[in-house]
Symmetry: C2
Subunit: 225 residues, 2 copies
């Protein structure tokens, strides 16, 4: 399905481009629309049901496609999930970057990153952002996927990890923080921030909750700030 003469053109930037041949532009357009519909349908289901447990059938029906079609584009359910996760992380990275940019001091930048990331991973606060998706279900499956395919998840989350390491390096360089290994520090921060919703859920009705601020304070001092 891939033609040699297509490869000499501009460098493709994402999986979307590489996935479909350009010589068959009409087919490609159709295919992309199709894939997009599947993704949209899946997102809708997640938002509506507040859970990541939909069936392929649901997705197919909602998107008015056929099972046959689904398996034409995705090797299986996991592939769909990864695609959703990738898409979602793309959005969040963009959003977080916007949130970090206006700050100039290394520590404030790091703080902005932390707080925003926390918001992205947890349940929607009272202040719903634009037409953003309900991200909790996605966090849930990132957890499940991390258990059965950690490398894949790591790859998908790489953009976030990279940004975090950069911010940490900057902070260390500016002497605002001391950390022997920023990558290790990044792991600790990610864990604390991205999955605090899990512990909050476990805490349940006891009323104790770890807020974005709490998480930030904990990380900051934890790294000796």
């Amino acid at each position: 399905m891939e033609r040699v003469d297509d490869l000499q053109d501009e460098k493709a930037s994402g999986w979307r481009q590489r996935a479909v041949s350009r010589s068959l532009s009409a087919v490609r357009t159709r295919a992309e629309r199709r894939v997009q519909r599947l993704l949209d349908a899946a997102f809708e289901l997640i938002d509506e049901r507040g859970t990541s447990e939909f069936t392929i059938q649901d997705v197919v029906e909602r998107s008015k496609q056929s099972l046959r079609g689904f398996y034409q584009y995705f090797d299986g359910k996991d592939e769909l999930l990864f695609a959703l996760l990738e898409e979602s992380i793309r959005e969040s990275v963009e959003d977080i970057r916007e949130s970090v940019e206006p700050e100039s001091e290394p520590l404030k930048r790091l703080r902005a990153f932390t707080i925003r990331l926390h918001e992205w991973c947890g349940p929607l606060g009272t202040q719903q952002k634009r037409g953003a998706h309900n991200r909790l279900p996605l966090s849930e499956f990132s957890l499940q996927l991390a258990i059965r395919d950690p490398e894949r998840v790591a790859a998908v989350m790489a953009p976030i990890s990279r940004m975090l390491v950069e911010l940490l390096d900057a902070a260390v360089a500016a002497d605002a923080l001391r950390a022997t290994d920023t990558r290790r520090a990044a792991l600790l921060i990610q864990q604390t921030v991205m999955y605090s919703w899990l512990m909050n859920r476990l805490a349940g009705k006891t009323g104790v909750q770890v807020t974005a601020e709490d998480a930030w304070e904990f990380c900051l001092h934890g790294l000796g700030g």
Copy 2:
């Protein structure tokens, strides 16, 4: 492995009661032996395969029971999983307590707790403990179960949480630590320590790993020690 009979009198754990309460005292002994066999078989499978993904069939065959029998004692697979988790946590609490007792200073006690808990939740180190089970698969479970039934998991982990809060309260009382809310602090510590194996797995081959020591330092400073 045949240490079941003496449980008849002492206070049985939650799942044990639930599982056996249906049949009354006479059959009880037999029933308990049966339940125990199922649990042993499940533990064996987990240890051998290093994963928590066995089928009920496997368990039934290994324990020389029948499906009928399995469902007589457990309402479903989740019940079995919870039973295993409960059992495993019982062991760990015991072990952690032994590890904490010899220490007298509040901070050292807290440290002992943290380090030991970390060892319990992660992959087996080079120093295998007694006939201890491979606990990583169980940690994986606990994570999955925490996603679909958080309250239940919270209940099962309560003994650990309680111990931690006590240690924290003691440390705060001794002025060795300042924390506005020890329960919140407990959540953060649990999260950092119990699930660092997940992040380590995500870090994968990059070589960066969070050790028990790292986790402890992070928590200690994070809480302002």
